[in-house]
């Protein structure tokens, strides 16, 4: 993944010197985004059709009689040829209609608008933790290569990679919720606060602040901290590891030696020069890490009863609820593309070569 994005970045850097007009560039961008999403939908759609699960069963249950079954098959459009089903679906999507979910009986758009903010909140908190702790940890490991801080970071990273998040979540709950009482239990909010704040963004901490409900804000934040820390730990593992290897590359460069020889303080050499130079690839790493978190972590969401996108897509997939799966995929795809564009944009800001 990293390579693909890097390659994209390089292509951007190698563009002709005379850039095309802005409107043309925007149009080109939109077309490529639309084509990517269309391709994504097509692949998901086809996978959904080859999965050996009968989508009608999910809708009518096992006991329905043949007539009911056939009617639902017709209502779901499954009696049409495959290309026609896909065409109709895309036409609906173009009109902003993602269809109705079989599992929740609600418009998919409404469902996604409900579950995505939950994931967004969790992923954002996790990636913030990941960056705040992961980058300094990686820098420290690189600078102290081969000594205990390096080993510590690497061992912590290894644990982060190898321990199942499911187990870590349960142990976290057992320790911090059941034994120490530091954090509240699973869920996004204590049940008695539920529904007291109007969902404006769907992100509870933000909604509570907007409504001026500090008590609810603290409650939501306290519910967020444990799952976010656990997810964040996994980003720390990834981000610190990548930071370490980028930093090691930089620290071998001659300009670092030059800077040191010039008598620049070590802190300035490391944080300003070396870190400044790895900012570009690091953005890709963070963006990818964030995008992965935004897909929703099914296991963390399950342990913490966090009603997010991961659980939604998984449940839908296991019931062959294709509208919901396609809707969810579209969101994930859009998030990936959005973050890619964003990191591309940041490249241009941070790397003068990319601006040419």
């Amino acid at each position: 993944m990293t390579d693909i994005i890097k390659a994209g970045g390089d292509t951007a850097a190698r563009r002709p010197r005379r850039p095309a007009g802005l409107p043309r560039r925007i149009a080109g961008l939109l077309v490529s985004v639309a084509m990517t999403l269309l391709g994504l939908l097509l692949v998901t759609f086809l996978i959904g059709r080859v999965v050996p699960i009968d989508p009608v069963l999910a809708a009518v249950g096992d006991r329905a009689n043949a007539e009911t079954y056939e009617r639902m098959r017709h209502e779901l459009g499954l009696d049409l040829p495959l290309w026609q089903q896909f065409g109709l679906y895309v036409a609906d999507v173009a009109r902003g209609d993602l269809g109705t979910s079989v599992l929740t009986s609600r418009p998919v758009l409404e469902d996604v608008a409900r579950v995505f903010p939950a994931t967004l909140e969790l992923a954002t908190a996790a990636v913030i933790i990941g960056v705040i702790l992961g980058v300094p940890a990686g820098v420290m490991a690189a600078v102290n290569r081969g000594r205990w801080p390096d080993h510590l970071v690497r061992v912590l990273g290894l644990v982060g990679y190898s321990v199942p998040v499911f187990w870590l979540g349960l142990v976290g709950l057992l320790l911090f919720y059941a034994k120490l009482d530091w954090v509240p239990g699973p869920g996004r909010l204590d049940v008695f606060y539920d529904g007291l704040v109007d969902p404006m963004t769907g992100i509870l901490t933000v909604d509570a602040l907007l409504a001026g409900e500090t008590e609810i804000f603290w409650n939501a934040l306290s519910h967020l901290i444990l799952p976010a820390s656990i997810l964040g730990y996994f980003s720390i593992a990834y981000i610190s590891r990548m930071t370490r290897s980028f930093m090691l590359d930089q620290l071998r460069q001659e300009y670092i030696t030059t800077a040191r020889v010039k008598g620049m303080s070590e802190a300035r050499v490391i944080w300003r020069h070396a870190l400044g130079n790895i900012a570009v690839p690091l953005i890709t790493v963070v963006a990818l890490s964030y995008a992965t978190l935004l897909e929703g972590s099914v296991l963390t969401e399950t342990v913490f009863a966090w009603p997010g996108l991961g659980q939604y897509i998984t449940n839908s997939l296991l019931s062959a609820d294709m509208n919901a799966v396609l809707g969810g995929t579209l969101v994930v795809g859009a998030v990936f593309i959005g973050l890619n564009l964003l990191s591309d944009l940041l490249y241009r800001v941070l790397d003068p070569r990319a601006r040419r």
Partner: protein, 536 residues
Amino acid sequence: MRKFARSLIGAAFLAGVAAGVTSVAVPAWADTPKDSLVMAWQFDDIISLDPAEIFELSGAEYGAQVYDRLITYDVKDVSKILPALAESWQVSDDGKTYTFKIRNGVKFHSGNALTAEDAAYSFQRAVKLDKSPAFILTQFGFTKSNVDQKIKATDPNTLVIETDQAYAPTFVLYCLTAGVASIVDAKLLKEHEKDGDFGWNWLKTNSAGSGPFKLRQWKPSEMLTLDANPAYREGAPAMKRVIIRHIPEPATQRLLLEKGDVDVARNLKPEQFEPLKSSKEIRLVEALKGTLWYISLNQKNPILSKPEVRKAMRYLVNYDAMRGSIMNGIGSVHQAFLPKGMLGAVEDNPFKYDPAKARELLTAAGYPDGFTVSMDVRNTSPTMDMAQTIQASAAAGGVKIELLPMDGKQALTKYRARNQDIYIGQWGPDYQDPNTNADTFASNPNNADDAAAKPLAWRNAWDIPELTKETAAAVLERDSAKRAAMYQDLQRKVMEDSPFVIMFQQTEVAAERTNVEGMVWGPSFDTNYYRLATKK
């Protein structure tokens, strides 16, 4: 270098402080309030809140709190049919006309008066909407075109139902205790009707009932909140509110229950509830449910279709070992197709694990060295564990079973296409009458691949014209004792020789905090009631 170590420690410290601050700033997590019941439950199977469509276990339980029916049955003695919205009923001499007297003064949650018109509308609506559970009503000869004549209100207190044949009255009455026969608020639904949908699009996420609770909020796979109906005909529930949280992970449910953040946990597995048996704060309640676990042998497989092989398989299941281990607390050995508690249920279990006897039978069938078959298994607990145990016990008799783990819906799709060898699964009754199981285990009107009906007998390609006739005759027997005897006979026949090896009847274990009393855990999910629950 030390600076960097310090910066890392600093960052960690900041994060720690942030965690500390939040845990201090929030008041200590208190127990649940006295007037609310909080429950942890997996309810992601709910796909609709419309009683004409509800056909899932969790949905059925929701329906039983929010909607009332004409009649109900005693949860302690299922053979007693009790009045509910109907205060009395009569069956005509020819056995085809049922007349119900509807209670006066009952009101829906909306404040609208409940009359026989609402009852007629509810049944007509369910038949015309024709959703999954509609067959429970349409099996009495109602169609979209005749239901308005066959089910009608002759005055505000009288509902008349005409069936196409003289069925056993218990059969008809038990079907009217099912969720699809819930009485809905006709006036309210007509206000929400769009394009002739009988308000279905609205009702699948709203409520229009007269039951002890009304729907406050439903967030799919997240939260279901019910408010007490103070005007309920049998008295207001003690709990002002019931909050049900979808907690998918059983271990998480246990933590919440032990901390007192929920009052009831519904989905604990043996490994979670076993340690709770010694707890003073938590009580485990067991309720026998109608669901059966069985394995079935597809008769399209020439080996499995030999009578001796069918018989041998009955001796290759280690019933007692499973009951003492993986089924501990969640199931009891049961080998007949009618669950205990149903009219005519056979309760003796003649088969024991006996690999030597199984070998004799297999030798007689021409397989002295056994054979190899596959078994489709849904990859959930305890089904997977049961399959593994059966795999081991069958191997002792020479039968080598290859397990094919798959998702539940995938297994079902394959089963309905008759592409399996052996299937291991569950079957729960659709209504409280014995016909619900006889019709699937002992009836197969058409064994052709394109048959319209796909009962379990069909799914295992078991062609049984004689048993099919006997099952059809049993629904017409109006004498209850004779009818029970007919079902006993059918059960014995299926028990002795059929593709079905029925093994266990499910026990539901609910874990309640000891300050909660009065929850009713009935013999089916739609007879679990919260109305009488109290909290100290």
